[in-house]
């Protein structure tokens, strides 16, 4: 509008000063052209072909907050962590995981909890050396030994990571390379999670598009007995051997991990025989970008004797019969999710997850109570995550889950969470 007034004023001035009729005519033509051009541009603005900001005001950008750092001549030490509070409301009092959702006649009254035990603190260092960078990390959270909710809600400090990385080698406790590389962005831990954190020795080769890792990791045999219990014989003699390849194309990320493990029991407990077997597994995961911002993520895992690597030990690597003979069983897990960005601050993920195992039918017949032997679990998640300021997260998530056990009983659970989180 201001531009119109300016032009009218200009025309007025021109009229006053013009003495020659021809000159006035020429000037009028020019004004006509200018008005025509202005009208054209305003039409384009109206059609949003071009955008003009009258205020010319710069959008305020939030300056990032940096971690606390101490720097010597060569070493950089950083301290950080997060404060997290989860408000959880569930249709059952039992924990939401693949081996605990209550089935059949179990308690089915709703239960509400607050929990801050997922808060974390970490310290890391970085020092250059002739062998490459030396990096270390120690990280803890408060999900160790849990106290009661009656008075002080104590939560024990728990070691998460403690490892050193020198050039291409990593030694210490950290995440297994068999873990899903492109996890879903969920507030609840997926029931079918392929996730293990354990001591390891790892060699990594990093390139622009491809990464490779090979590692020797902590072995731990888990076997189902005729008492319907999962035992850990502690007779492991060979580390789990793993390899992983990751590919980072412009359209996303793909990772494949393979594993071989030696399952062994050496006359454990009352077993008269020694027995062993070779287990293996494959985990394929991917993230595919959709448009500029959204992505689809999926993973598929299959293996024989996978056991504790899937769904937090809900399924054993195999079973051991009365004489001590081991027979491994297949375990599988799949997930599919879509993450959509509503705006720079708001995003959602919707996901379906599934995990299951094939227990031996003949062996199951020898077990009287099968209500604690898991067959499968599946869940659907939907959430809305908001990042109002950098390093913060406020999120809500709803999950509906079902657990099926070998007795044929099923347990359904609905749960909703509100999370407040700040990374410092």
């Amino acid at each position: 509008m201001k531009k119109y007034f300016s032009l009218i004023f200009l025309l007025f001035c021109i009229n006053i000063n013009a003495s020659d009729e021809a000159e006035i005519k020429e000037l009028k033509e020019q004004v006509k052209k200018i008005l025509s051009r202005l009208e054209y541009l305003e039409n384009r603005v109206a059609k949003k072909e071009i955008k003009i900001d009258d205020s010319k005001k710069v959008v305020a950008i939030e300056e990032p907050k940096q971690n606390l750092e101490l720097t010597t001549k060569e070493t950089v030490l950083s301290v950080g962590g997060k404060i997290e509070l989860d408000f959880n409301y569930a249709s059952l009092a039992s924990p939401l995981n693949a081996k605990s959702i209550a089935v059949a006649d179990a308690q089915n009254s709703p239960h509400q909890t607050f929990n801050a035990a997922n808060s974390r603190i970490w310290v890391k260092t970085r020092t250059p050396s002739s062998y490459g960078l030396i990096r270390t990390l120690v990280e803890s959270d408060f999900s160790g030994v849990q106290g009661t909710e009656t008075n002080t809600n104590s939560s024990g400090l728990r070691l998460r990571h403690a490892y050193i990385n020198v050039g291409e080698w990593s030694v210490g406790q950290t995440n297994s390379i068999f873990n899903t590389s492109t996890p879903l962005e969920l507030l609840y831990t997926p029931l079918n999670d392929v996730f293990v954190r354990q001591p390891l020795i790892k060699y990594s080769s990093k390139n622009d598009l491809f990464d490779y890792d090979i590692s020797l990791e902590q072995p731990e045999t888990t076997l189902l007995t005729q008492d319907a219990k999962i035992i850990t014989p502690k007779d492991d003699i060979i580390p789990d051997i793993l390899a992983r390849a990751r590919y980072y194309p412009s359209w996303g990320e793909v990772a494949m991990a393979i594993m071989g493990r030696y399952i062994n029991q050496d006359s454990y407990g009352d077993f008269t025989n020694k027995s062993s077997a070779f287990g293996w597994g494959v985990n394929l995961s991917a993230k595919i970008k959709v448009g500029y911002y959204d992505d689809i993520r999926f993973h598929t895992t299959y293996g024989v004797g996978l056991g504790r690597y899937v769904a937090y030990n809900a399924y054993p690597a195999g079973y051991v019969d009365a004489s001590g003979e081991i027979d491994l069983q297949p375990t599988y897990a799949y997930s599919l999710g879509y993450r959509h960005w509503w705006s720079k601050e708001l995003r959602s993920t919707m996901a379906l997850t599934y995990a299951g195992t094939k227990n031996d039918e003949e062996f199951l017949q020898s077990i009287i109570d099968k209500t604690n032997i898991n067959r499968s679990v599946y869940a659907s998640h939907i959430n809305l995550l908001w990042t109002p300021v950098l390093n913060s997260l406020i999120g809500v998530e709803y999950v509906k889950a079902k657990r099926v056990v070998e007795s044929g009983d099923e347990g359904d659970m609905d749960s909703a969470m509100l999370r407040f989180r700040y990374d410092f």
């Binding site: 900001d53 950008i61 950080g80 500029y292 919707m350």
Partner: protein, 147 residues
């Protein structure tokens, strides 16, 4: 039953949410860079990775951003008059100046990635955004939000 309903809802969700198309070159490159930055920032919420793994990811994102900015600066000369002409024609000098600042920032980000100075990355990205917003302000272009 609810499982089938979930699948149906997921498919519906998939079907209508992609943002593509009809962007001009400038917008296309801007969205590309913004997309990388959003993925980078959301990685902080990835509870499955250790801090050192996240550092590795941040370095990879830094290279991607640096590369994308270099392409953006290089191709900016190909932006059509229809796209930017109205803004740039009278402020070509200013535009070129901001473009050079952008290219320098891309080099700085790459240097940080080469030296693995992860702690300096956030500040550089902040400076990068300021160059973009500053250029828009100089040329009288509205600072659009991501979407």
């Amino acid at each position: 039953m609810y499982f089938k309903v979930s699948i149906l809802i997921t498919l519906l969700f998939f079907s209508g949410c992609t943002k593509t198309a009809n962007k001009n070159l400038h917008e296309d490159k801007s969205h590309h860079i913004n997309g990388i930055m959003l993925h980078l920032y959301s990685e902080v919420n990835n509870p499955y990775k250790s801090e050192l793994d996240l550092d590795d990811d941040k370095i990879r994102y830094a290279y991607s951003i640096s590369q994308a900015i270099k392409e953006f600066a290089k191709e900016s000369k190909n932006f059509s008059q229809k796209e930017l002409g109205i803004y740039v024609s009278k402020n070509k000098e200013l535009f070129e100046k901001n473009l050079n600042r952008l290219k320098n920032k891309a080099i700085e980000i790459e240097d940080i990635a080469n030296r693995y100075e992860v702690e300096k990355l956030d500040k550089k990205l902040y400076e990068l955004k300021n160059i973009c917003y500053g250029c828009h302000s100089d040329l009288g272009v509205r600072n659009e939000k991501v979407f």
